[in-house]
Symmetry: C2
Subunit: 435 residues, 2 copies
């Protein structure tokens, strides 16, 4: 019998705004950050679950407060009881009759839920001695269905339909797993095209990325159309006509502007336009999708729950489903969206531009391929190249493919020294910044 | 020159869960609460702006943290500069390039924004020596348009279209104002039908309400259909066939369940079904609306911003638009939604089931009638009868009509003694609770 005896929450911030890493049309100066949770247990081996939710600087302290609000729902709980019904545990977290007023299932409290749920999955996977992708991929269809909260989904996906999708994917699980272990999971890189980078830097980074074997690229756009045309031309010149180029406007446009702007960028053959407008605007995305086809519309890093994804799929508003491992309420809700996307036949390409996100989603896409969608066409995981050095089990990306993680857990555990140095505002780095 | 020199934030909670006031199918045991903001100025007369956002107990402290995160955007600002461009001020609050990650414009950070924006409007109206409804109603169409953030709205409503709506309403402003001052603004009562009340209490409260002149009633439903039928029958028996009876499921149902449940309740001639499903489910509300017509679908107390309301209107998902003065980002965003609703010809019936909400919305509906929609048909303001004694300028409702407030400001300033007694967890009331 193991009990959760402590919930530590740390406000960790990296001063990325100094180098404009991560800069885009809406996020001019992000300091990649996290509300970082440690679930301490009374296990004799000192077992802990580590989880985080990604943030961009200011406001991380509000998410920390959100985790503290959830804490009573976790503290003193039996790990075995949580493990025995992870779906019920999730529903309890999001269903608190008073806390749900400040969501429900959106914004700060849902980001906080994600950090806690991710930490629980880290704990559970460590106890099982498996990485999360493997733990999920070895569950029975019934066990997977039981993880999901089907509330508000049943007009699009019932538990029975979800079960059928998973049962259909039972044959071939071993082969698909062996294939991924051998070849890795396809990735694309966002690291060449942050908005704050000058033309020379973009050109240099494209060449370096090509030399490293990358074939899929993403460029930030949306602030100035003439700049975008010049920058897209540079990337196309460098990567050639056949490699993939996606563009990402980070919510900068209204519907009409998005349509007009993409008409200007169409000559560069964008594979998708990501976040053309407000993440809340399902009907707006649908209108844009109709207008810009055959360019695909992608969104998800700000799509706050499974109910929003359900509608984006129902409205044929997206051709690319970009789950975010921390915006959604952790693993359980990601599983719900993977099932919805499979039902609608839309590929899932996880968002990972942030700290810890690559580490998380490298577990989710392999599970999707092995046990849910059974497809790799049009599927790829975002990759950004910074801050991985702070993790005990950082991602390994080789020539444009994620190697599958092997260490038990969910891979987003930071080195104690990194946590100490980057704690805001008292860590060494921030005390130096303040001087 | 007046400067904001302090931002105080108070966690105020009323132990309403003891009496099940406010209880419904999702909110079993709310403690009506508020994150309460005081903007202190250096004005010689000690001028302050008071504002709040409504919460239901646990989690209020997270909203308080949200206000603290916004504080640097308000502190040391010139009141005159804010007044000179309230629209720009609003866009700054919601547009912080780091804070927007934890929203944007939803959940905790948007609730916190509402408290601050409402406090600013209290301040501005006090300086003008007018109640907020009057201040708004005397603005020119151009000034009103300038309050609104049209980002993400222009596919449904442009600034030019908004201006035309307001200009069309210029003639007759004085007559409509005089009419409201004379007659009041229509109201309906929710106080008879909280879910935690037993049948005898419902019957008694109906009789009392009828004696008080009420003609419009709302009943909480959604937990058990046989209970709902019995309770609806009691209310219908008491109020007769011609008075209005709305029902409210507080998000309890999936789409299919909502449709089936309302078929059972149709015999009681419900005027609207409120919150039949998730507030995020625009397409779900549209499907329910098609199925349950001619019963109207209403929602809004959990509709988090103007972009969501835009879509509910575009999709013909609602026939009743229930703005919430604190869920939306305060007065500016409410004005945006009033204009959208006018464009789509949908009546606005504000949500007010909470503490301070009646005090707020009594300003918003009169402005809607005087300067925007010019209509009263199908328009009414919710009324609940508790906690008004804590306010300096409580609502006055006479025989089912709100009397227009006359005191300068936004009416949600609490008595210092109430703030002190109900501060959580250190106030007198909560120290007693803890014993």
């Amino acid at each position: 019998m193991t009990t959760i005896i402590g919930v530590d929450v740390i406000d960790v911030r990296f001063p990325t705004s100094r180098s404009l890493d991560g800069s885009d049309a809406m996020n001019r100066d992000p300091d990649y950050s996290a509300a970082y949770v440690v679930l301490r247990t009374d296990a004799p081996d000192g077992l802990e679950g580590h989880g985080l939710t990604f943030t961009t600087g200011r406001g991380t302290e509000v998410v920390v407060a959100g985790v503290h609000a959830i804490e009573p729902l976790v503290l003193a709980r039996s790990v075995e009881a949580i493990e025995a019904d992870l779906g019920a545990f999730w529903r309890e977290l999001v269903g608190d009759s008073q806390l749900r007023w400040i969501g429900p299932e959106k914004g700060v409290i849902h980001l906080a839920t994600a950090a806690v749920v991710n930490a629980v999955w880290d704990l559970v996977a460590k106890r099982a001695g498996k990485p999360v992708w493997q733990l999920l991929s070895e569950m029975s269809p019934e066990q997977i269905v039981a993880l999901v909260d089907f509330r508000y989904l049943t007009d699009a996906l019932t538990p029975e339909q979800a079960l059928a999708i998973l049962q259909e994917a039972l044959p071939g699980r071993d082969e698909r797993r062996a294939e991924l272990v051998r070849d890795g999971y396809p990735a694309y890189t966002t690291s060449v095209g942050w908005l704050g980078y000058d033309d020379d830097k973009i050109r240099r980074l494209c060449r370096e990325a090509l030399a490293d074997g990358w074939t899929r690229f993403k460029l930030k756009v949306g602030a100035d159309v003439e700049d975008d045309i010049r920058r897209a031309r540079i990337v196309r010149e460098e990567i050639g006509p056949d490699r993939m180029l996606a563009v990402d406007a980070n919510q900068r446009w209204d519907v009409g502007v998005a349509i007009a702007w993409m008409a200007r960028l169409a000559e560069f053959d964008p594979y998708w336009i990501e976040e053309p407008t407000s993440p809340d605007d399902i009907l707006g995305h649908a209108a844009i999708a109709r207008a810009v086809a055959p360019i695909r519309v992608a969104t998800g890093e700000h799509v706050h729950n499974r109910i929003m994804f359900k509608q984006l799929l129902q409205a044929e508003a997206i051709s690319v489903c970009q789950i975010d491992s921390c915006r959604l309420g952790g693993v359980n809700e990601v599983v719900a969206v993977l099932l919805l996307a499979a039902k609608f036949g839309v590929p899932v390409c996880p968002h990972a531009g942030g700290v810890g996100l690559c580490e998380y989603v490298q577990h989710l896409s392999p599970f999707d391929y092995i046990a849910v969608s059974r497809r790799l066409d049009g599927r790829m995981i975002e990759y950004v190249d910074h801050l991985h050095e702070h993790f005990l089990d950082p991602v390994t990306v080789v020539r444009g493919f994620y190697r599958l993680p092997t260490r038990p857990g969910y891979s987003a555990e930071m080195h104690p020294a990194s946590l100490a140095d980057y704690t805001f505002p008292t860590g060494r780095i921030w005390r130096q910044e303040a001087i």
